[in-house]
Symmetry: C2
Subunit: 121 residues, 2 copies
């Protein structure tokens, strides 16, 4: 099967350092040196992550040879949001069922509490 854009995006996002880089870029464009500061990583290691993000279209880089600032490109994330949205009813179902279960549990506890109090009086 071909490596579609959504697969490329998800693979690029499946790394905590790359997600942290995207989070950092939310505050504005920045240089590789600045980006690498919070990470205990070499510049080549950071550059490798940036290449993955750039290939996925999640960042864009300036053209200046010396100072190539990175900026966030969020449009591939829209596709992720649209894809995952199809499953919302399933996770909401799960939480609804859990909520229902907890309500039943509380109701049982209340009944039990009343019986317990009646027995004591």
């Amino acid at each position: 099967m071909v490596n579609d854009r959504l697969t490329t995006t998800l693979a690029a996002l499946a790394d905590p350092t790359r997600r942290a880089i995207l989070a950092r870029l939310c505050t504005g464009e920045t240089t590789v040196t600045e980006l690498s500061k919070p990470f205990d990583m070499s510049l080549p290691a950071i550059s490798k992550h940036l290449k993955v993000l750039e290939h996925a279209g999640l960042i864009a880089r300036g053209r200046e040879a010396q100072w190539r600032p990175c900026r966030l490109e969020a449009s591939p994330l829209k596709e992720v949001a649209e894809w995952v949205e199809h499953y919302r009813r399933f996770w909401e179902d799960t939480f609804d069922r859990l909520d229902e279960y907890l309500t039943q549990l509380k109701s049982k506890e209340r009944k039990h509490g009343r019986r317990h109090r009646r027995r004591r009086t």
Copy 2:
């Protein structure tokens, strides 16, 4: 950095076959044999994908040795939706800017059209 749950989920989703399996499970629980039908893949290949999905908590499987039906477990997808939601303003910004650009373009075209009509009359 540790392989957190979101990373495991995203890595499991970064494969078109695995996403197709999840889509298939939206219609209800099913066996591995049934699941493998639309794919040109061996049962062991499908089983490998199912193991990745199960490890990520995206599917659960029945306990019967012979007939282990798979069902969708959507709660890890809620985390993906919540993570991606932080970036909404950025992709909406992109589309807003594009929309603004197109509006300007149309407005220029209209002005140009009017000038063009005036010149012809």
